[in-house]
Symmetry: none
Amino acid sequence: MLKVILIVGDGMADRPVSSLGGKTPLEVASKDNICRLASISSLGLWDPIAPGVRPGSDTSHLALFGYDPYRFYPGRGPLEALGVGADLRPGDVALRGNFATVNDELVVVDRRAGRALPENQELVKYLNENIGYIDGVEVKFYSATEHRVAVVLRGTSVSADVSDTDPHEVGSKVLRSKALVNDENAVKTAEIINKITLRTYELLRNHPLNIERVKKGLPPANIVLLRGAGKMIYIPKLQEREDLIVSKCLAISATALIKGVCRLVGFDVITPEGATGGVNSNFLSKAEEAVKAYKAGYDFIYVHIKGTDAAAHDGDVNAKVRVINELDRVVGYIMDRVDLSEVVIVLTADHTTPVEVRDHTGDPVPVLLYSPTMFADGVKDFNERIARKGSLGRLRCSELLYTAFDQAGRVRKFGS
Amino acid sequence: MLKVILIVGDGMADRPVSSLGGKTPLEVASKDNICRLASISSLGLWDPIAPGVRPGSDTSHLALFGYDPYRFYPGRGPLEALGVGADLRPGDVALRGNFATVNDELVVVDRRAGRALPENQELVKYLNENIGYIDGVEVKFYSATEHRVAVVLRGTSVSADVSDTDPHEVGSKVLRSKALVNDENAVKTAEIINKITLRTYELLRNHPLNIERVKKGLPPANIVLLRGAGKMIYIPKLQEREDLIVSKCLAISATALIKGVCRLVGFDVITPEGATGGVNSNFLSKAEEAVKAYKAGYDFIYVHIKGTDAAAHDGDVNAKVRVINELDRVVGYIMDRVDLSEVVIVLTADHTTPVEVRDHTGDPVPVLLYSPTMFADGVKDFNERIARKGSLGRLRCSELLYTAFDQAGRVRKFGS
């Protein structure tokens, strides 16, 4: 069996860009290493979910790892919670939360309590010490980046069919969570969420750290607004799947949401020093970790580069090109340090984020698949346009992972 | 967001035709405008349902509009009923019917009672006035073209799992409807259908209009034969779908069945003056209506040209070519009057109707997709052969609509 190395430029795929004369960032970037790999690889297109369906990074990553997101997507709440290290079991309900600033009438003054919130961890600890259970349901807060938190509800009859307390805009009053379906558990859970929300306000409004913040002229983090309830479902880990053969999986990423998906499906996850998920991340450190993992006996190594997507969401075409230049160094570093007769390498994007759209679109993404035992296309380039003529054709959803794993001898026979 | 204009030549796709030296009608037709549009578009193939599956015009249109027909096809009965303006609710059972001529032993003499039946509406009115309810189930007849009617059953326990009373051949006795499954509601519904059939005979045999017809030497319309029972299901309209963003939809068609599908999924429907659904229709009037709709703020405009299919069913290759020549004028009229930076245009067929087969086949159909923000193939032609090399690859079922809507910015993200 071969090892599989999967390298993804998040949102790397693009559409023709006017300021690049109709070319794409991937077409204009310096990518000698990628072209060198392309020359011994097969190219094609991959629809992360299906043609025209706009993927999130979470749903596309599930598909990338061989999980049909229509079956296995638990929703944003659980994924965020997993991303910040929550212990989630099937049946738990998780929500995303913001420390926010409200006035005495519970009208939102700042949805992010100033965004930078060094007190986040200490406030979360305080909430956990003083809440614990509401109406028999265990309530646990988890600290995330800046003003963000995740909240996990655990009980025999919690429901995710409940609305947000976050009004999603300044100047509106905190909302009452309501049951979205005619179901006793949903009614009960909505009530618990309303109690949690009020309890955070009672606990936080006069908290010493907030009094300090007000003294400094900063907005107090005096409530937690909740949104995006989702119920955790049972998802077999890669190692538990009956159709695949894999044991040690490592994901290298600096992005909480992606790390959450990776943990969910059985990856060990590391964030190398200096890796930030931004356009100025320490990209090469990820390549170094990938090669270390290869030498340490990992079967499946996932390298996630977020900067391409970050640049595209900002509409910054030059930054996107620069990140692809860096990605090329990552590819070169890895391919020069592994035995090419022992690996399958996939290079692709998790979705298209056109710099002119600044959001994900449903276009197919180019894919490069290197395997020592595959028909190579013999094309010394890799981009959206040339991939349309590639011999892999157009793969959908889990088909990309199966194709790579099959080349690596890691797919079990279906039938006899 | 861009507007989407979808133009379909019904059954336009073909196979190599001997009398055209192995070319297809689309290959030999004059189509300067289509070629002009093709040069700035992407080409590919579309399987309306799946490769090799022979679509009906109804199932292929559901797929064309982004509905999986395996999930959302309610059957021919409900679609015909909707096509003639029936008020159908989820749970209703609808059947197609023919006014027919039977002798005293209920043996079918003419399945269509002479086909031309100007008395249709008056006879339907008479049946509705004299039937109303049978065994607590509401029974309503709707007049359709020539000898055709639709019948709708509404009640708490009506079933569509019942066989036809129409023997589908002259010389056979009218059939008794039977339950197709071991189910009380199916047994009860079959009995109601048998009662309806006999009741139509009792009411019609001595009806004054039939006495008149016999005097004129015409076959009397003395019974209604029923077939194709189907249960209406809940189908979200395009505007109600959570995955798409669209509000005003207009369909331009002269074909009852297609109009039924269009109304079902939320289109406003118009039939321009002179448009007949035949090979000598007023084609340009449809283009004019499309441009009017574009200017009137419609988001999604569907132009249906039936003549290609009608010609192919007749095995008339010359007529099929002539209709494609007309379709080319429709395309030209539209593309010259819309702002090409504001629209996505799709040109395709709803299925293949080879003139040498004279019926629908399961071949993929060629598709042309114009979008201002897409990679164009730069090919100045459009036909079955060249589309096989197109960069869209091979799309299936709902994927064509999603791809067009995604280019128009009208698909909601799945995930985060």
